[in-house]
Each structure stands twice: as structure tokens, then as C-alpha cells.
Symmetry: C2
Subunit: 354 residues, 2 copies
DNA sequence: AAACGCCTGGAAAGCGCTTTCCATCGCCTC
DNA sequence: GAGGCGATGGAAAGCGCTTTCCAGGCGTTT
């Protein structure tokens, strides 16, 4: 029964249709539709309802989502665009988003740009073609104004088509956004180090065109200035948003500025690399010789040795909030959710020597 | 121009259709379709082709994928079902799959079961409703025969509808599968420890109903027997496939069997927990007092301290191969790709004392 | 008892696209 | 110069579903 004759059978041979279910139940197509996918706006008599359900069960009917999407002009698919699924930062956001999606019975279509800027645009367009009901832009915005503009255009098009867009992290004032406290986090990290007695604090940053990096750095600098840090030239090194990028940048930083007693790394993955670089390449003890603070508090941060002091961001919550925002039938006002950052002290920081 | 009047505008107001493009270009719908989405089977004259393209550009036409899916009875969507996107194991697989998907211009719809067994079935069904062209089952199979059977039924249905299914890890002999060398890996880990002089080797395993766990454990046991390990009762503790699960199980194991000099943890995430448990809860030095070997070689394994000796699995490659298999127009023969495991020695293992 | 409204069920018009037929047309072959 | 053929464009029939109308059948209301 229901024997799959051949694995290569042409696709169009397949699939039980609602029409068949209706026929088998002896009712009209309309009635079958109302029973099986009805929005509750119309009731169907007990007897017919039973018959339709029995027929569907017997024929092993599976509804055809594309057809429904076409007829209804709306789908239950949401898109999620990230830089890299393997990065724990995005993994956590995705996990939150998917948990919320499940509650709302949404399917999520995920796209990874692998940090290629052009791909974000391309995927947004594909998602638009898929008639996704909404999309979440989880990656950071950039300072590249041309790219930003083209993206804004595509977003406008998407919304004109009836879709919704929410950004995780600021991208523009008229977009729904879930913002994490990057500035505040940068500030907290600096103040935490300051309280431990550190006065010469360096920063390992990610690519400077990323808004996220900008904001974190900005928060750190502002705090430094506010505290009246010695007016030395900024000690900032930039690297890729990867472990190796962090390692190389940290090594460069401490070679150039051996006087530093602490470094703030603007991303945990980079911080893992920094820890390795300081230890293995430079032979500098953490935290005795130099304290290290990371950013994000990804799951493995606590397992590094020394355990990483870091700025915790509610990543999963951000993913969940984003989905919530998508469904929320907003008026014309763009929505905004602000999520806090919190410094978590662990073993990679210690009072400044002396 | 293309002014999004209101963010809440009903969806059906929206969208430029092919029909409109055709009209604007002064050609028939058929011609427009052939120009814009043609499979190359038919050629369209230079002049008309130009006009259609210009019209599409001018009207900012975006094709409607659900409508195409309906008309063509096939889509460019593939499903990917994982246990947990935030787990680096699945993160790596997903990254590989998405990279391959991008090359093939496929969109991937991802579903996370959060390790709830029933959800796998449910999502497979949803993916079937979406008329996904194929799905990748990335999570481990289980020994629960009833669940397995119901899944097999759903898979058969999916294939009868013209879809393809690829499993990562064995699920059944008649399914396309990408298999990683779990047994061999378990064996290699044990032999590695043996060569270091360890004779009393314990195992921290994940949930025993998971096939992956079974295979890894099986490989380890077989190696142990082959090497003529002392016929003591097996020292195996089981825990959740999480950091905390690994921590608790490792603590239990070493409390019950303080004579062990080495433990193989069947998953890196659990191994991170085990390292913490041995150090913080039991005060046992790794690797001096007890050596630890993990499994998977997820990215952070090398950053743990001591760096984790582990069995490396080509996770990304598995994801890529899975997608490749999906597209490969197989005959009726189920395909199979075998991927090797390799023991990577790092700091968490040392020669047995004495 | 006539008129009204409500509740159910069905017919049928799409939703946006692909693809199969036809119809042309210019060109080549014998 | 008639018959054929390949290349090109269009008409129209769906793909599987939702939803708007309509048509009856009842129970109420005056």
C-alpha cells in the first residue's frame, strides 16, 4: 500500500490532491478545503467533517504549501540571513529564532552569506522570490553606504510586496530592530577593567566597516575617555572576525604596545584566538601579565582556560524577539526592542599588577 | 516610484507579475516566461528577449517561487533537519550543507528538533508539504523501533512524492547515506590511549538510544576486547548530549571507578563538561592523573585547556556530500559515502603514569 | 402564513507561472 | 517550384488550492 514504485519516478506523478480527498469523501473541493485548512471562519457540518478527515487520513493526504501560498498570497515561511551558521554567535541567535518559529508554526529558510557582502542582497532577493512572509537580517550592518543603500532598496521592495523585515542590530531608523547593547557592553568591559586597576587598555577589534564593531569600540572609547584614561594614542588592532584574526591582531597589539596590561577583544571567537596568541606566540601569562575580556559570551567562553571574562549578550533572546516582532501586526511605526549587555567576570581578568 | 504605501498593506495588493512584464514588453506570457525563467529548451529572438529583459528590469519584477513550484511540480528548496543549530556539531554540518547549496542555487529550509524525537517526523512532514525537493536528516537515528518505522513510512511517502532523502549517519540500508566512521573513530581513540600505556579506560557516552553513540561505543569496546583489555566490567556512564550531561557523567564515572587512568568522551561538547567536572568537582588533573579524549573535533576543542585530544570527523564535508548526493540523479540503487575519522592528539592525553 | 435572516454546501473564478500544442515564416532540398 | 523542416511566437490548459458568491433549507419574527 502506498508503495513507492521507483525512486526516480517523475515528480508530477505524485501527490494526493485535495480534489481527490473531496471526491473520496463525496463532498466539494470547497468543503474539503474548509475542513482541512479552514481558518475557522466557516463551519462545516459534523458528518461531512468526519468524512473529509477520514478520506484525508486514508489517502495520506499532505497539503501542498506552495499551492496554498499562491492561493492565499502569503506563506508561513520566514527567512533568516546570517553570516555564518557555524559561528556560535549566529548559532545562538538561530536557535532562539527557531524555537520561536516552532511555537508559531513557521518554517525558517536560512541563508549564510559567509561574510560576502553581496550575498546578503542576493539572498534577500531570493527570499523575496520565495514570498517569505518575513525575514530576519541577523548579520551586522556595515558602513559601506552604497551596499547599505542597495539593501535598503531591496528591503523597501520586500515590504512593498507585503513582507516584513527585522534587523538584529541597527541598520536604519525606519526598520524594525532588535538591538543589543553593544555600546553599553563596550563601556562595561572597560569600566570592569578600570576597577581592577588597569589603566593601559588595548582593544582587538573586528573589521571596522561592521557597525557592531563600531558600536562596541565606540562604547569602549567613550568609557575610557569618561574615566580620564591617559591620553595615549588609541591602542586598537583590527582583524578578521575569526579565531585566527583575533590571534594575529592580539599578537600585533601586544608587540606594538608591550605596556598594555589589559585587552578587550570585541568577540569571543577572536578572544579564543587572542588567548592562544598571547600564551603560545608571546608567552604572556593571562591574567597575570595581561587581562583579557571577550564579547558575546558564547557557550564555550566559560570553558576556555583561563575562563573568559566577557560581555554577555542575550543572543537566543534576540532571535526569539526578532520572530516575535515579525508576527506582531505593527502599525506604521517601526518597532524596536533593546536587549541589555552584562559583564561576566571570570578567570581571564585579574587586578592590575603593582 | 515603487513607493511602499503602508507597511500593513494587504499582501495581495503586491507584486509585479510576469503577465505585467509581458504586457509592458508587448509579448505573450509564454515568451516572457521563456526569457526570464527559460530552461534553455527554447530560444527567443534577440529583439523580444531584449524587450522582456528591459521590462522586467524597469518594473522590478521578482519571480514568484511558489507559483513556479506549483507549475513545475518541483522546487529548489531542500530541507535540513538537525537536533540543535547551536550545537557546533550541527553548526559545522549545516555550514557545509549551505556552502554546497549555494553552489547549486538551492535554498535551505532548516528545522531543529531540539532533540524531541517526535519533532523530526513532524518537520519531515512539513517539508513534504513544502514540496521540498529533498531533505537531509542530519541527526542521529535511534534504536526506538516504533519511531524509526514511522519515520521510514514518512520517508517512503516523501520519496513517493518525488523527493529525495539523505541521511547523515546510518538509518537504514535502502536510504542514501553519508556515513562517518564512528566505529573506527571509537577504535582509534582506544588504541591511541592504549599506546600511551592506558589499560583502565572508561567511557562517557551520550543517550544510549542514539545510533551514533552506539556505534562509537561499539568501536571502542571492540578495540578494547581486541587489545585484550582486562575483563573488568565495562566502565561506561551515560549522560545527556550536553556540556552538563558530560560533566555529571564524568564525575559519576570517576567516583565509581577511581582506578581509571583515561576516559573517552563520545562527544566534544560533553568532553568540555567532563574536563570541567574532573578539574573542579573532583580535583583530578588532566592529563596527569587521567587522560581525556573527545569526539568530533569541533572548532573549540583545540582551545580548551588542556587542548582536547579528539577524534576528528569531517563535519563540513559531510554536509557538502549530503547536498551533492541529493542532486545526483541516482538510479534505484541507494548511494553511500563513507567519510573517515582521525585521532588528533593534543594536550588532554599523556602517557599513563607508572 | 409570509418574510426574513442564518447556516451549510457547492460552483467557479482566480493566484502566477510552465508547457504543450498550433500557427507562421523563412529557407533548404530535390 | 512544391514539399519539408527548424526556428520562433502565442493561445490556452492546467498545477493545487482559497474564497467569493449563490442557492437552499430552516428556524424566527410579526
Amino acid at each position: 500500500m502506498a508503495n513507492p514504485r521507483s525512486r526516480t519516478r517523475p515528480a508530477h506523478t505524485a501527490g494526493v490532491t485535495l480534489q481527490q480527498v473531496a471526491r473520496q469523501a463525496g463532498v466539494s473541493l470547497a468543503t474539503a478545503s474548509r475542513v482541512l485548512h479552514g481558518s475557522g471562519a466557516r463551519t462545516v457540518g459534523e458528518e461531512l467533517r468526519r468524512r473529509v478527515e477520514a478520506a484525508a487520513e486514508e489517502l495520506r493526504y499532505v497539503s501542498n504549501a506552495p499551492a496554498q501560498a499562491l492561493a492565499r498570497a502569503t506563506s508561513n515561511v520566514v527567512g533568516l540571513i546570517v553570516h555564518d551558521v557555524a559561528d556560535p554567535y549566529f548559532g545562538a541567535i538561530a536557535a532562539g529564532a527557531m524555537r520561536a518559529a516552532r511555537e508559531q508554526r513557521l518554517m525558517v529558510m536560512i541563508a549564510a552569506t559567509f561574510r560576502e557582502p553581496g550575498l546578503e542582497l542576493e539572498y534577500l532577493r531570493s527570499l523575496r522570490a520565495q514570498r517569505a512572509r518575513a525575514v530576519i537580517l541577523a548579520g551586522s550592518g556595515t558602513t559601506d553606504t552604497e551596499a547599505t543603500e542597495r539593501l535598503a532598496e531591496e528591503i523597501a521592495g520586500f515590504e512593498a510586496d507585503g513582507g516584513r523585515v527585522v534587523c538584529i542590530g541597527d541598520r536604519g531608523p525606519d526598520l524594525d530592530t532588535v538591538a543589543m547593547a553593544n555600546r553599553s557592553g563596550g563601556g562595561q568591559a572597560v569600566r570592569g577593567l578600570w576597577e581592577l586597576g588597569h589603566r593601559r587598555i588595548g582593544v582587538v577589534a573586528g573589521p571596522s566597516e561592521l557597525l557592531t564593531v563600531r558600536h562596541r569600540l565606540d562604547g569602549a572609547r567613550r568609557a575610557l575617555r569618561g574615566l580620564g584614561a591617559p591620553a595615549a594614542p588609541d591602542a586598537v588592532e583590527t582583524g578578521d572576525f575569526t579565531r585566527e584574526g583575533g590571534r594575529a591582531a592580539a599578537v600585533r597589539l601586544l608587540r606594538a604596545r608591550p605596556d598594555l596590561t589589559a585587552v578587550l577583544v570585541l568577540n569571543d571567537v577572536m578572544a579564543a584566538g587572542a588567548l592562544a596568541g598571547l600564551r603560545d606566540d608571546l608567552g604572556l601569562a593571562v591574567p597575570d601579565r595581561v587581562s583579557v575580556v571577550g564579547f558575546d559570551d558564547v557557550p564555550f567562553a566559560a570553558d576556555l582556560r583561563p575562563a573568559l571574562t566577557t560581555v554577555r549578550l542575550p543572543l537566543e533572546a534576540a532571535g526569539e524577539e526578532a520572530v516575535r516582532l515579525l508576527l506582531d501586526p505593527s502599525g506604521d511605526e517601526p518597532r524596536r526592542v533593546d536587549l541589555p549587555a552584562e559583564l561576566v567576570l571570570r578567570g581571564s581578568t585579574a587586578p592590575a599588577a603593582g
